[in-house]
Subunit: 308 residues, 2 copies
């Protein structure tokens, strides 16, 4: 079924303890689309400026099954740019700069050809923008939003309205705690269910993720990556969401097994796709994710996380 | 097969944000034995003082299948006592006092009737004491040691010798990092394999555990407990080890499926037993762990952590 993602396309500058990359392709929609497209075609809605490098466009165009008709270019504007530095063996991330550029201007619109999209991922942005995008997608069957601490702090009321309009939300454990005042991830997720959505995915980075659904709770460890396997964690969360929703859209929730079980499986595919992302800068890690490599990584993860 | 545990029997005073218990039964050997005895008979080696409350003895005697012939009483001595306080919703623990008492004196000896023990768990104590106990167990098939930051810091050379003599070691993620200088749990585990043991279990508390074995790597999430389910985390790690080794001894590693797979399953049983421990003070949570309740909790955990 049709999957649409709205989010940022960015120019990232990333420093790790051992390397540095300047002005590489990044942004939530880029990672999401690259992680989801092996599962199902992806429609991308976003906006870039006149400075967007043609190599970045070529990279996105090179992703099989990603429809860029919703990618708007504003020639007078600047592309969203982000700089970050990883410290202490990738555990701590420091943001060095954030230039919103065109992302700080008018929101992109959903092109008419995408209006019939059934699976919707609202990448992290101001919740009022997310709500505006949602109204342009009247055929949606499952809508999931991402959010962050900034919106919890400065746009709490709009976020609470959004939570009544989506089916699910993904957020980090620290963000779930901030939103609910509860540190325990399961209880925080249950509180958020009380705000409206049918399910919550709490991401815990290297410690995996927890799904809190009206019908049950699931826990998944992260892929047990060695230090050598972690080149750059940027985009891991967005890739997790991409793999997760790619699987959901592929399976078509509601047909066959229960939504809870399909989501539980989807967390596994999200974990697998995130494990590719951390293996390189920008989309380099995901470039290795051929259907065969994805199947092998999934089998390896299933063996490592098997519960007899 | 026969399982023996050496470790502390303690008198615990525990404060949580909502409750306080004074002078309740604690200690690594007590939690280990209570968690292991539903799986297999347990032989306990430890030492208490003349002040040991008769109610505590009655509690241990009430555990089915725990053989206390290795529990020595030193009438002139004082029982090991520990006081701790949990802060920030159970996330942070502060030690208020530690009175070693008889644990700081001569080590207990393994009684002759226990000398043929095959599965050995060396609870956390000075590594030279652990090594001395190990020499009294010449029939051992699988020996696993626990350790802590204190011994890594002040008895590093003895600990390294111990690591050459045991089959496996269990330790926290922060301890694995301290021992190896590596923050990544999988890579830290791999480094420790280089020091001698065949496998390492890195415990991550509420984030689960990782098994690093010569034959592979496994990851298990923690039981997805709600805030309400966590009454007192004291003893969770020892109960994890108890459930794990109880399963190993019950299965008899080396017969049937591979050691790696048996250990992987053992991590699941450890997780289940730890989930009982956190549900009450002292051994109160484990008292609910009837064979039927254990089977139900395991089924619930398997459903929550299922990888399709």
């Amino acid at each position: 079924m049709s999957l649409i993602v709205t989010g940022t396309i960015g120019i990232d500058t990333v420093e790790t303890p051992s390397a540095r990359r300047e002005r590489v392709l990044g942004g939530s929609a880029a990672f999401f689309a690259a992680a989801a497209c092996p599962f199902t075609p992806v429609r991308l809605v976003g906006v870039v400026g006149g400075d967007w490098p043609s190599e970045h466009r070529a990279l996105l165009e090179g992703l099989r099954g990603v429809d860029l008709r919703g990618l708007e270019t504003r020639p007078q504007g600047k592309t969203f740019a982000w700089g970050g530095r990883y410290l202490e063996n990738m555990n701590v991330r420091e943001t060095l700069f954030t230039d919103l550029g065109v992302v700080g201007e008018a929101a992109p619109t959903v092109p008419g050809v995408f209006a019939d999209s059934e699976f919707v991922f609202l990448g992290n942005t101001h919740p009022s923008v997310q709500r505006g995008l949602l109204t342009q997608l009247p055929k949606r069957k499952v809508a999931i939003a991402d959010t962050m601490d900034l919106w919890i702090n400065i746009a709490h009321d709009e976020l609470m309205k959004l939570l009544c309009e989506v089916d699910g939300i993904v957020l980090n454990d620290s963000e779930a705690s901030l939103l609910t005042g509860v540190r325990n991830a399961v209880t925080a997720g249950q509180r958020i269910l009380g705000y409206g959505p049918r399910f919550v995915v709490v991401k815990k980075g290297e410690h995996g993720a927890v799904l809190v659904h009206r019908d049950g709770v699931a826990a998944v460890p992260a892929y047990p990556a060695t230090e050598e396997m972690v080149i750059d964690p940027t985009g891991a969360g967005d890739s997790f969401a991409g793999g997760m929703m790619g699987h959901l859209a592929r399976m078509g929730v509601g047909t066959g097994s229960s939504e809870f079980q399909t989501l539980q499986d989807a967390l596994t595919w999200g974990t697998v796709m995130a494990s590719f992302t951390i293996g390189g800068f920008s989309l380099e890690g995901l470039r290795e994710a051929s259907p065969d490599a994805i199947a092998k990584r999934h089998a390896s993860f299933r063996a490592a996380a098997r519960i007899a």
